[in-house]
Symmetry: C2
Protein backbone atom coordinates (compact mmCIF):
# COMPACT_ATOMS: atom_id res chain seq x y z
CA UNK A 1 0.00 0.00 0.00
CA UNK A 2 1.28 3.49 -0.79
CA UNK A 3 1.15 6.25 1.81
CA UNK A 4 -1.81 7.75 -0.06
CA UNK A 5 -3.83 4.52 -0.09
CA UNK A 6 -3.23 4.19 3.66
CA UNK A 7 -4.43 7.65 4.68
CA UNK A 8 -7.27 7.61 2.21
CA UNK A 9 -8.49 4.25 3.49
CA UNK A 10 -8.43 5.68 7.04
CA UNK A 11 -10.37 8.72 5.79
CA UNK A 12 -12.84 6.36 4.10
CA UNK A 13 -13.39 4.42 7.32
CA UNK A 14 -14.01 7.59 9.34
CA UNK A 15 -16.25 9.01 6.60
CA UNK A 16 -18.40 5.88 6.73
CA UNK A 17 -18.64 6.09 10.55
CA UNK A 18 -19.82 9.70 10.23
CA UNK A 19 -22.29 8.88 7.43
CA UNK A 20 -23.75 6.00 9.45
CA UNK A 21 -24.13 8.21 12.50
CA UNK A 22 -21.67 6.14 14.56
CA UNK A 23 -19.94 9.48 15.03
CA UNK A 24 -22.66 12.09 15.50
CA UNK A 25 -22.49 15.76 14.47
CA UNK A 26 -20.72 17.68 17.23
CA UNK A 27 -19.00 14.56 18.66
CA UNK A 28 -15.31 14.77 19.45
CA UNK A 29 -13.04 12.40 17.55
CA UNK A 30 -10.49 10.25 19.39
CA UNK A 31 -7.07 11.92 19.70
CA UNK A 32 -4.41 11.52 17.02
CA UNK A 33 -2.55 9.16 19.39
CA UNK A 34 -5.65 6.97 19.81
CA UNK A 35 -6.33 6.92 16.07
CA UNK A 36 -2.66 6.07 15.36
CA UNK A 37 -2.96 3.11 17.68
CA UNK A 38 -6.30 1.97 16.28
CA UNK A 39 -5.15 2.02 12.65
CA UNK A 40 -1.56 1.00 13.35
CA UNK A 41 -0.05 3.99 11.53
CA UNK A 42 2.03 6.98 12.56
CA UNK A 43 0.48 10.32 13.53
CA UNK A 44 1.50 11.98 10.29
CA UNK A 45 -0.70 9.55 8.35
CA UNK A 46 -3.63 10.16 10.73
CA UNK A 47 -3.20 13.91 10.27
CA UNK A 48 -3.34 13.54 6.46
CA UNK A 49 -6.64 11.66 6.77
CA UNK A 50 -8.11 14.21 9.19
CA UNK A 51 -6.95 17.14 7.03
CA UNK A 52 -8.69 15.58 4.05
CA UNK A 53 -11.98 15.14 5.92
CA UNK A 54 -11.72 18.72 7.22
CA UNK A 55 -11.36 19.96 3.65
CA UNK A 56 -14.51 18.06 2.76
CA UNK A 57 -16.27 19.89 5.58
CA UNK A 58 -16.94 16.73 7.58
CA UNK A 59 -14.65 17.67 10.47
CA UNK A 60 -13.59 20.87 12.13
CA UNK A 61 -10.77 21.43 14.62
CA UNK A 62 -10.89 23.67 17.63
CA UNK A 63 -7.36 24.65 18.56
CA UNK A 64 -6.32 23.07 21.84
CA UNK A 65 -9.66 21.30 22.23
CA UNK A 66 -9.83 18.61 19.57
CA UNK A 67 -11.35 17.58 16.29
CA UNK A 68 -15.12 17.40 15.97
CA UNK A 69 -17.64 15.98 13.54
CA UNK A 70 -19.13 19.00 11.75
CA UNK A 71 -22.81 19.75 12.24
CA UNK A 72 -24.85 19.66 9.11
CA UNK A 73 -26.73 22.97 8.76
CA UNK A 74 -30.26 22.87 10.12
CA UNK A 75 -32.77 23.19 7.30
CA UNK A 76 -35.41 25.79 8.07
CA UNK A 77 -38.42 25.81 5.76
CA UNK A 78 -39.91 29.21 4.92
CA UNK A 79 -43.53 29.52 3.89
CA UNK A 80 -46.93 30.77 5.03
CA UNK A 81 -46.89 28.40 8.02
CA UNK A 82 -43.42 28.93 9.48
CA UNK A 83 -43.27 27.55 13.03
CA UNK A 84 -39.94 27.47 14.83
CA UNK A 85 -40.54 24.40 16.99
CA UNK A 86 -42.05 22.34 14.19
CA UNK A 87 -39.31 23.35 11.74
CA UNK A 88 -36.47 22.29 14.02
CA UNK A 89 -38.25 19.12 15.16
CA UNK A 90 -38.86 18.17 11.52
CA UNK A 91 -35.10 18.25 11.02
CA UNK A 92 -34.75 15.64 13.78
CA UNK A 93 -33.38 18.17 16.24
CA UNK A 94 -34.40 19.48 19.61
CA UNK A 95 -35.70 23.07 19.42
CA UNK A 96 -35.46 25.58 22.25
CA UNK A 97 -36.11 29.30 22.49
CA UNK A 98 -34.49 31.23 25.29
CA UNK A 99 -36.27 34.57 25.73
CA UNK A 100 -34.03 37.24 27.26
CA UNK A 101 -36.41 40.23 27.12
CA UNK A 102 -40.14 40.90 27.22
CA UNK A 103 -41.13 44.55 27.50
CA UNK A 104 -43.94 46.88 26.50
CA UNK A 105 -42.92 50.09 24.76
CA UNK A 106 -43.66 52.43 21.85
CA UNK A 107 -42.91 50.93 18.44
CA UNK A 108 -40.01 52.05 16.29
CA UNK A 109 -41.01 53.65 12.98
CA UNK A 110 -40.35 50.40 11.11
CA UNK A 111 -42.45 48.40 13.61
CA UNK A 112 -45.32 50.93 13.50
CA UNK A 113 -45.38 50.91 9.71
CA UNK A 114 -45.25 47.12 9.44
CA UNK A 115 -47.87 46.51 12.15
CA UNK A 116 -50.07 49.39 10.92
CA UNK A 117 -50.23 51.09 14.28
CA UNK A 118 -49.32 54.58 15.45
CA UNK A 119 -45.81 55.31 16.72
CA UNK A 120 -47.56 56.49 19.90
CA UNK A 121 -49.16 53.03 20.24
CA UNK A 122 -47.72 50.15 22.26
CA UNK A 123 -45.93 46.97 21.27
CA UNK A 124 -44.87 43.95 23.28
CA UNK A 125 -41.22 43.48 22.31
CA UNK A 126 -39.33 40.22 22.82
CA UNK A 127 -35.73 39.23 22.26
CA UNK A 128 -33.88 35.99 22.64
CA UNK A 129 -31.89 33.11 21.22
CA UNK A 130 -33.11 30.11 19.22
CA UNK A 131 -31.24 26.85 19.75
CA UNK A 132 -31.16 23.58 17.87
CA UNK A 133 -29.80 20.60 19.82
CA UNK A 134 -28.43 23.12 22.31
CA UNK A 135 -26.44 25.05 19.69
CA UNK A 136 -27.43 28.72 19.15
CA UNK A 137 -28.70 29.11 15.59
CA UNK A 138 -30.35 32.54 15.67
CA UNK A 139 -31.07 35.71 17.59
CA UNK A 140 -34.69 36.78 17.37
CA UNK A 141 -36.49 40.04 18.11
CA UNK A 142 -40.23 40.46 17.66
CA UNK A 143 -42.80 43.20 18.14
CA UNK A 144 -46.49 42.40 18.72
CA UNK A 145 -49.26 45.04 18.74
CA UNK A 146 -50.48 45.15 22.36
CA UNK A 147 -54.00 46.40 21.59
CA UNK A 148 -54.84 43.44 19.36
CA UNK A 149 -53.37 40.83 21.71
CA UNK A 150 -54.70 41.14 25.28
CA UNK A 151 -52.66 39.14 27.79
CA UNK A 152 -49.88 38.32 25.31
CA UNK A 153 -47.04 39.64 27.48
CA UNK A 154 -48.00 37.26 30.30
CA UNK A 155 -48.54 34.38 27.89
CA UNK A 156 -45.11 34.91 26.31
CA UNK A 157 -43.44 34.91 29.71
CA UNK A 158 -45.13 31.61 30.66
CA UNK A 159 -44.97 29.72 27.35
CA UNK A 160 -41.90 29.12 25.20
CA UNK A 161 -44.01 28.80 22.05
CA UNK A 162 -45.13 31.98 20.28
CA UNK A 163 -47.91 29.96 18.61
CA UNK A 164 -49.33 28.92 21.99
CA UNK A 165 -48.93 32.42 23.44
CA UNK A 166 -50.78 33.97 20.48
CA UNK A 167 -53.54 31.38 20.82
CA UNK A 168 -54.01 32.33 24.47
CA UNK A 169 -54.16 36.00 23.42
CA UNK A 170 -57.04 35.28 21.05
CA UNK A 171 -55.22 34.46 17.78
CA UNK A 172 -55.65 30.70 17.26
CA UNK A 173 -53.90 30.81 13.91
CA UNK A 174 -51.54 33.12 12.05
CA UNK A 175 -49.79 33.18 8.71
CA UNK A 176 -46.44 34.45 7.49
CA UNK A 177 -47.24 37.15 4.91
CA UNK A 178 -43.78 38.32 3.82
CA UNK A 179 -40.11 37.59 4.50
CA UNK A 180 -37.23 39.87 3.51
CA UNK A 181 -33.78 38.32 3.51
CA UNK A 182 -30.29 39.74 3.36
CA UNK A 183 -26.84 38.92 4.77
CA UNK A 184 -24.79 40.80 7.35
CA UNK A 185 -21.73 40.06 9.48
CA UNK A 186 -21.98 39.43 13.23
CA UNK A 187 -20.94 42.28 15.50
CA UNK A 188 -19.06 41.35 18.72
CA UNK A 189 -22.23 41.35 20.87
CA UNK A 190 -24.12 39.08 18.45
CA UNK A 191 -21.07 36.84 18.11
CA UNK A 192 -20.81 36.37 21.88
CA UNK A 193 -24.50 35.39 22.17
CA UNK A 194 -24.31 33.03 19.18
CA UNK A 195 -20.93 31.52 20.21
CA UNK A 196 -19.28 32.38 16.90
CA UNK A 197 -16.52 34.78 15.84
CA UNK A 198 -17.31 38.41 15.09
CA UNK A 199 -17.44 38.86 11.32
CA UNK A 200 -19.19 35.51 10.73
CA UNK A 201 -21.91 35.72 8.07
CA UNK A 202 -25.50 35.90 9.34
CA UNK A 203 -28.73 35.58 7.37
CA UNK A 204 -30.94 38.53 8.35
CA UNK A 205 -34.62 37.69 7.94
CA UNK A 206 -37.40 40.23 8.56
CA UNK A 207 -40.92 38.86 8.59
CA UNK A 208 -44.52 39.95 8.96
CA UNK A 209 -47.23 37.61 10.18
CA UNK A 210 -50.98 38.26 10.13
CA UNK A 211 -54.09 36.83 11.79
CA UNK A 212 -56.86 35.15 9.74
CA UNK A 213 -58.44 38.58 9.15
CA UNK A 214 -55.17 39.84 7.65
CA UNK A 215 -54.28 42.08 10.60
CA UNK A 216 -50.57 42.15 11.43
CA UNK A 217 -49.77 40.31 14.68
CA UNK A 218 -45.97 39.93 14.62
CA UNK A 219 -43.10 41.86 13.09
CA UNK A 220 -40.02 39.70 13.53
CA UNK A 221 -36.30 39.96 12.93
CA UNK A 222 -33.99 36.94 13.03
CA UNK A 223 -30.23 36.74 12.62
CA UNK A 224 -29.44 33.14 11.66
CA UNK A 225 -25.86 31.80 11.76
CA UNK A 226 -25.12 31.08 8.09
CA UNK A 227 -22.94 28.04 8.72
CA UNK A 228 -25.60 26.48 10.97
CA UNK A 229 -28.80 27.21 9.03
CA UNK A 230 -30.06 26.84 5.47
CA UNK A 231 -33.41 28.48 4.74
CA UNK A 232 -35.37 26.38 2.26
CA UNK A 233 -38.14 27.47 -0.05
CA UNK A 234 -40.44 25.19 -1.95
CA UNK A 235 -42.07 27.35 -4.66
CA UNK A 236 -44.37 24.57 -5.89
CA UNK B 1 -30.06 77.93 17.98
CA UNK B 2 -28.18 75.33 20.00
CA UNK B 3 -25.32 73.34 18.43
CA UNK B 4 -27.65 70.37 18.23
CA UNK B 5 -30.42 72.23 16.38
CA UNK B 6 -27.83 73.53 13.90
CA UNK B 7 -26.34 70.15 12.94
CA UNK B 8 -29.71 68.43 12.98
CA UNK B 9 -31.18 71.07 10.67
CA UNK B 10 -28.24 70.52 8.27
CA UNK B 11 -28.84 66.76 8.48
CA UNK B 12 -32.54 67.38 7.79
CA UNK B 13 -31.73 69.45 4.67
CA UNK B 14 -29.37 66.77 3.30
CA UNK B 15 -31.85 64.00 4.18
CA UNK B 16 -34.55 65.80 2.17
CA UNK B 17 -32.19 66.22 -0.81
CA UNK B 18 -31.46 62.48 -0.73
CA UNK B 19 -35.14 61.56 -0.34
CA UNK B 20 -36.09 63.79 -3.28
CA UNK B 21 -33.37 62.28 -5.43
CA UNK B 22 -31.49 65.56 -5.77
CA UNK B 23 -28.59 63.51 -4.44
CA UNK B 24 -28.78 60.10 -6.11
CA UNK B 25 -27.64 56.79 -4.61
CA UNK B 26 -23.90 56.43 -5.21
CA UNK B 27 -23.35 60.18 -5.72
CA UNK B 28 -20.48 61.84 -3.90
CA UNK B 29 -21.35 64.56 -1.42
CA UNK B 30 -19.57 67.94 -1.53
CA UNK B 31 -16.50 68.09 0.71
CA UNK B 32 -16.72 69.14 4.36
CA UNK B 33 -15.14 72.45 3.36
CA UNK B 34 -17.80 73.05 0.70
CA UNK B 35 -20.63 72.08 3.05
CA UNK B 36 -19.17 74.35 5.79
CA UNK B 37 -19.27 77.24 3.37
CA UNK B 38 -22.76 76.45 2.09
CA UNK B 39 -24.32 76.24 5.55
CA UNK B 40 -22.12 78.90 7.14
CA UNK B 41 -20.95 76.64 9.97
CA UNK B 42 -17.63 75.15 11.05
CA UNK B 43 -16.47 71.72 9.90
CA UNK B 44 -17.11 70.13 13.27
CA UNK B 45 -20.83 70.88 12.89
CA UNK B 46 -20.85 69.49 9.34
CA UNK B 47 -19.17 66.32 10.61
CA UNK B 48 -21.83 65.88 13.30
CA UNK B 49 -24.56 66.08 10.64
CA UNK B 50 -22.76 63.63 8.32
CA UNK B 51 -22.06 61.20 11.17
CA UNK B 52 -25.74 61.22 12.04
CA UNK B 53 -26.80 60.48 8.45
CA UNK B 54 -24.18 57.71 8.25
CA UNK B 55 -25.64 56.12 11.38
CA UNK B 56 -29.04 56.21 9.70
CA UNK B 57 -27.50 54.33 6.78
CA UNK B 58 -28.10 57.18 4.30
CA UNK B 59 -24.42 57.92 3.76
CA UNK B 60 -21.23 55.93 3.73
CA UNK B 61 -17.64 57.18 3.78
CA UNK B 62 -14.78 55.74 1.81
CA UNK B 63 -11.54 56.62 3.54
CA UNK B 64 -9.54 59.10 1.51
CA UNK B 65 -12.18 59.22 -1.22
CA UNK B 66 -15.20 60.99 0.17
CA UNK B 67 -18.72 60.60 1.48
CA UNK B 68 -21.36 58.97 -0.73
CA UNK B 69 -25.10 58.62 -0.75
CA UNK B 70 -25.80 54.99 0.15
CA UNK B 71 -27.50 52.82 -2.43
CA UNK B 72 -30.78 51.43 -1.30
CA UNK B 73 -30.63 47.64 -1.59
CA UNK B 74 -32.15 46.26 -4.77
CA UNK B 75 -35.24 44.25 -3.93
CA UNK B 76 -35.19 40.86 -5.60
CA UNK B 77 -38.46 38.93 -5.50
CA UNK B 78 -38.20 35.15 -5.09
CA UNK B 79 -40.97 32.89 -6.31
CA UNK B 80 -41.89 30.35 -8.99
CA UNK B 81 -41.31 32.92 -11.76
CA UNK B 82 -37.96 34.44 -10.82
CA UNK B 83 -36.50 36.31 -13.78
CA UNK B 84 -33.36 38.38 -13.30
CA UNK B 85 -34.04 41.05 -15.91
CA UNK B 86 -37.67 41.56 -14.91
CA UNK B 87 -36.79 41.63 -11.21
CA UNK B 88 -34.18 44.34 -11.56
CA UNK B 89 -36.26 46.35 -14.05
CA UNK B 90 -39.22 46.19 -11.68
CA UNK B 91 -37.06 47.92 -9.07
CA UNK B 92 -36.55 50.80 -11.53
CA UNK B 93 -32.98 49.77 -12.24
CA UNK B 94 -31.04 48.75 -15.31
CA UNK B 95 -30.18 45.03 -15.30
CA UNK B 96 -27.13 43.53 -16.97
CA UNK B 97 -25.54 40.09 -16.88
CA UNK B 98 -21.92 39.76 -17.83
CA UNK B 99 -21.13 36.11 -18.63
CA UNK B 100 -17.47 35.24 -18.09
CA UNK B 101 -17.59 31.49 -18.81
CA UNK B 102 -19.60 29.08 -20.95
CA UNK B 103 -18.25 25.54 -21.09
CA UNK B 104 -19.47 22.00 -21.53
CA UNK B 105 -18.21 19.47 -18.98
CA UNK B 106 -19.19 16.59 -16.69
CA UNK B 107 -21.43 17.64 -13.80
CA UNK B 108 -20.26 17.76 -10.21
CA UNK B 109 -22.00 15.32 -7.88
CA UNK B 110 -24.29 18.08 -6.57
CA UNK B 111 -25.21 19.15 -10.12
CA UNK B 112 -25.85 15.58 -11.25
CA UNK B 113 -28.09 14.88 -8.27
CA UNK B 114 -30.07 18.12 -8.65
CA UNK B 115 -30.48 17.80 -12.43
CA UNK B 116 -31.17 14.05 -12.22
CA UNK B 117 -28.47 13.11 -14.69
CA UNK B 118 -25.48 10.81 -14.48
CA UNK B 119 -22.12 12.16 -13.34
CA UNK B 120 -20.81 10.84 -16.66
CA UNK B 121 -23.38 13.04 -18.49
CA UNK B 122 -22.72 16.56 -19.75
CA UNK B 123 -23.73 19.99 -18.50
CA UNK B 124 -23.39 23.44 -20.01
CA UNK B 125 -21.84 25.50 -17.21
CA UNK B 126 -21.96 29.29 -17.10
CA UNK B 127 -20.46 31.83 -14.74
CA UNK B 128 -20.68 35.57 -14.53
CA UNK B 129 -21.65 38.75 -12.74
CA UNK B 130 -25.08 40.33 -12.38
CA UNK B 131 -25.22 44.11 -12.30
CA UNK B 132 -27.90 46.59 -11.33
CA UNK B 133 -27.38 50.13 -12.61
CA UNK B 134 -23.79 49.13 -13.38
CA UNK B 135 -23.07 48.02 -9.79
CA UNK B 136 -22.18 44.33 -9.29
CA UNK B 137 -24.86 42.74 -7.13
CA UNK B 138 -24.15 39.02 -7.53
CA UNK B 139 -21.92 36.30 -8.92
CA UNK B 140 -23.85 33.56 -10.65
CA UNK B 141 -22.96 30.04 -11.71
CA UNK B 142 -25.40 27.72 -13.45
CA UNK B 143 -25.41 24.20 -14.85
CA UNK B 144 -27.85 23.13 -17.59
CA UNK B 145 -28.30 19.51 -18.75
CA UNK B 146 -26.95 19.45 -22.32
CA UNK B 147 -29.04 16.49 -23.52
CA UNK B 148 -32.34 18.20 -22.75
CA UNK B 149 -31.34 21.55 -24.25
CA UNK B 150 -29.99 21.27 -27.80
CA UNK B 151 -28.21 24.43 -28.95
CA UNK B 152 -28.27 26.07 -25.52
CA UNK B 153 -24.51 26.75 -25.37
CA UNK B 154 -24.70 28.79 -28.60
CA UNK B 155 -27.89 30.53 -27.49
CA UNK B 156 -26.32 31.52 -24.15
CA UNK B 157 -23.28 32.96 -25.90
CA UNK B 158 -25.48 35.07 -28.18
CA UNK B 159 -28.23 36.17 -25.81
CA UNK B 160 -27.81 37.83 -22.41
CA UNK B 161 -31.15 36.50 -21.18
CA UNK B 162 -31.31 32.93 -19.87
CA UNK B 163 -35.05 32.97 -20.49
CA UNK B 164 -34.54 33.73 -24.21
CA UNK B 165 -31.70 31.21 -24.52
CA UNK B 166 -33.82 28.46 -22.96
CA UNK B 167 -36.71 29.35 -25.28
CA UNK B 168 -34.44 28.95 -28.29
CA UNK B 169 -33.30 25.58 -26.89
CA UNK B 170 -36.88 24.33 -26.81
CA UNK B 171 -38.00 25.34 -23.29
CA UNK B 172 -40.46 28.22 -23.78
CA UNK B 173 -41.22 28.41 -20.07
CA UNK B 174 -39.61 27.30 -16.83
CA UNK B 175 -40.37 27.53 -13.15
CA UNK B 176 -38.30 27.89 -10.00
CA UNK B 177 -38.95 24.76 -7.94
CA UNK B 178 -36.77 25.31 -4.86
CA UNK B 179 -34.38 27.87 -3.40
CA UNK B 180 -31.96 27.21 -0.55
CA UNK B 181 -30.50 30.24 1.19
CA UNK B 182 -27.64 30.77 3.57
CA UNK B 183 -25.01 33.44 4.29
CA UNK B 184 -21.26 33.32 3.77
CA UNK B 185 -18.43 35.87 3.71
CA UNK B 186 -16.74 36.93 0.47
CA UNK B 187 -13.30 35.45 -0.22
CA UNK B 188 -10.72 37.75 -1.87
CA UNK B 189 -11.51 36.54 -5.41
CA UNK B 190 -15.26 37.08 -4.98
CA UNK B 191 -14.62 40.45 -3.33
CA UNK B 192 -12.51 41.65 -6.28
CA UNK B 193 -15.20 40.69 -8.81
CA UNK B 194 -17.99 42.26 -6.75
CA UNK B 195 -16.00 45.41 -5.87
CA UNK B 196 -16.41 44.91 -2.12
CA UNK B 197 -14.04 44.09 0.75
CA UNK B 198 -13.17 40.47 1.53
CA UNK B 199 -15.21 39.36 4.53
CA UNK B 200 -18.35 41.22 3.39
CA UNK B 201 -21.53 39.20 3.96
CA UNK B 202 -23.01 37.48 0.91
CA UNK B 203 -26.39 35.78 0.54
CA UNK B 204 -25.77 32.36 -0.99
CA UNK B 205 -28.80 31.14 -2.94
CA UNK B 206 -28.95 27.72 -4.61
CA UNK B 207 -31.90 27.12 -6.90
CA UNK B 208 -33.44 24.47 -9.10
CA UNK B 209 -35.67 25.31 -12.07
CA UNK B 210 -37.79 22.89 -14.08
CA UNK B 211 -39.55 22.83 -17.44
CA UNK B 212 -43.37 22.51 -17.70
CA UNK B 213 -43.01 18.70 -17.55
CA UNK B 214 -41.12 19.01 -14.25
CA UNK B 215 -37.73 18.07 -15.70
CA UNK B 216 -34.82 20.02 -14.18
CA UNK B 217 -33.35 22.56 -16.63
CA UNK B 218 -31.13 24.76 -14.46
CA UNK B 219 -29.20 24.30 -11.23
CA UNK B 220 -28.03 27.74 -10.18
CA UNK B 221 -25.87 29.27 -7.49
CA UNK B 222 -25.83 33.00 -6.75
CA UNK B 223 -23.74 34.97 -4.29
CA UNK B 224 -25.60 38.26 -3.70
CA UNK B 225 -23.90 41.20 -1.95
CA UNK B 226 -25.91 41.54 1.27
CA UNK B 227 -25.66 45.31 1.49
CA UNK B 228 -26.85 45.69 -2.11
CA UNK B 229 -29.67 43.14 -2.29
CA UNK B 230 -32.72 42.18 -0.26
CA UNK B 231 -34.47 38.99 -1.32
CA UNK B 232 -38.22 39.37 -0.85
CA UNK B 233 -40.79 36.64 -0.41
CA UNK B 234 -44.52 37.09 -0.65
CA UNK B 235 -46.03 33.98 0.94
CA UNK B 236 -49.62 34.96 0.10
Amino acid sequence: MTAETIWSSIAETLRAEIAQGVRAPGARLPTEAQLSKRFGVNRHTVRRALAHLSQEGLLHSRRGVGVFVASRPAEYALGPKVRFHRNISAAGRFPKRHTTLIETRNPTEAEAEALKISTSGRVIATEGISLSDGVPIALFASAFPEDRLPGLADALSELSSVTEALARAGVPDYTRRTTRITAVTADPAQAALLQISAGTALILGVSLSVDPAGRPVEFGTSHFVGERVTLTLDHA
